[in-house]
Symmetry: C2
Subunit: 198 residues, 2 copies
């Protein structure tokens, strides 16, 4: 639905709070009443902004994908060298998951199966576009290396997505491993796995 | 609690069915009533076997870890070469996630945060033992290579766990990519990432 700038801003606020509630109680365990209370609205007030819990989950994931676009992809798109662009994309994606400033990212990763029907298809289309972007970039890096590809860009893309996305399950900012250590170890590991030694 | 062999068998049956219910409805969305119905017991009958929903989740995860021990780790423990033992461990772990014969594995991966208190600590101790087993094996493979380690066994272990565990989110047996293709691509990718070219 078309929204005024004010309504969009309010919706983003609701998404931020609702993402935290979904993170804490699980999508299935959280009620619209819980979310209304956390946002400081009546239930009727919440329904004024979003028509159902499913739509709210969709808006959160959509917002999460916007964050990926705005904070990672928009910043690397002018980099001409495919390897450097891929490297910076991986670093940006790691940063999003590791810092989890935005709980929307965790909700995208964890509540994948909770979304149903058309809304699920829409989010899956955005995810697929990102995966295709990675596959394309990986294929170009392989080509640039001048060596025969060691594995399909499709499998390589899912390998790196798994390495990065799984971080939300175990990585703690306060732990002994610093973000820079993970980032540089992951990037080097990935490029060795993809191309072999330089 | 101590159980007779019959009671253990019945509990495994309940775990298998309950894992499917948790997978479909989510842990928070599934009630003990849903599970009792799926198992073909009254709610009182179900409580005779398991004292709470949390305990049931614990039993499912514990059973999933038993499956890992019995179908993967027990079979490789006699292999003397660390690299071959690691390779076979990775293949066995991929097979568990990809085939998901046992929904318990998916529940372990997905409902990590749903378990609380002492029961969570017990499962985490079993997970940690597996991670330490991987780290130890990785360190021995690095040593055996005679080259200076390219990354810490700790980070390498989480990289490979992420690659493999994330498969539950995207891999479909019926899809175009066959298990053998994934398995051999993942193993080669991992060892190149760990050691560089042979």
């Amino acid at each position: 639905m078309a929204r005024t700038p004010d309504a969009r801003k309010k919706l983003r606020e609701i998404c931020k709070v609702a993402a935290k509630v979904f993170y804490e109680k699980g999508y299935d365990g959280a009620s619209m009443q819980d979310i209304a209370e956390a946002v400081g609205l009546t239930k009727a007030g919440l329904y004024h902004h979003v028509s159902s819990k499913g739509t709210l989950l969709f808006e959160i994931m959509n917002y999460g994908m916007d964050i990926l676009d705005e904070t990672v992809l928009a910043k690397v798109k002018e980099i001409p060298d495919p390897r450097e662009r891929l490297r910076r994309t991986i670093l940006g994606h790691i940063d999003l998951v590791v810092r989890a400033r935005d709980m929307e990212i965790t909700v995208i990763l964890h509540e994948n199966r909770s979304l149903k029907g058309t809304l699920r298809k829409k989010i899956n289309a955005r995810k697929r576009a990102y995966i295709e972007y990675l596959e394309d970039l990986i294929a170009r890096v392989q080509e640039q290396s001048g060596m025969p590809p060691k594995l399909s860009p499709h499998i390589a893309a899912f390998a790196v997505l798994g390495m990065i996305n799984w971080l939300y399950q175990w990585y703690h900012m306060e732990g002994a491993v610093k973000e820079e250590e993970i980032s540089s170890a992951y990037v080097d590991f990935f490029f060795r796995g993809l191309l072999g030694n330089p």
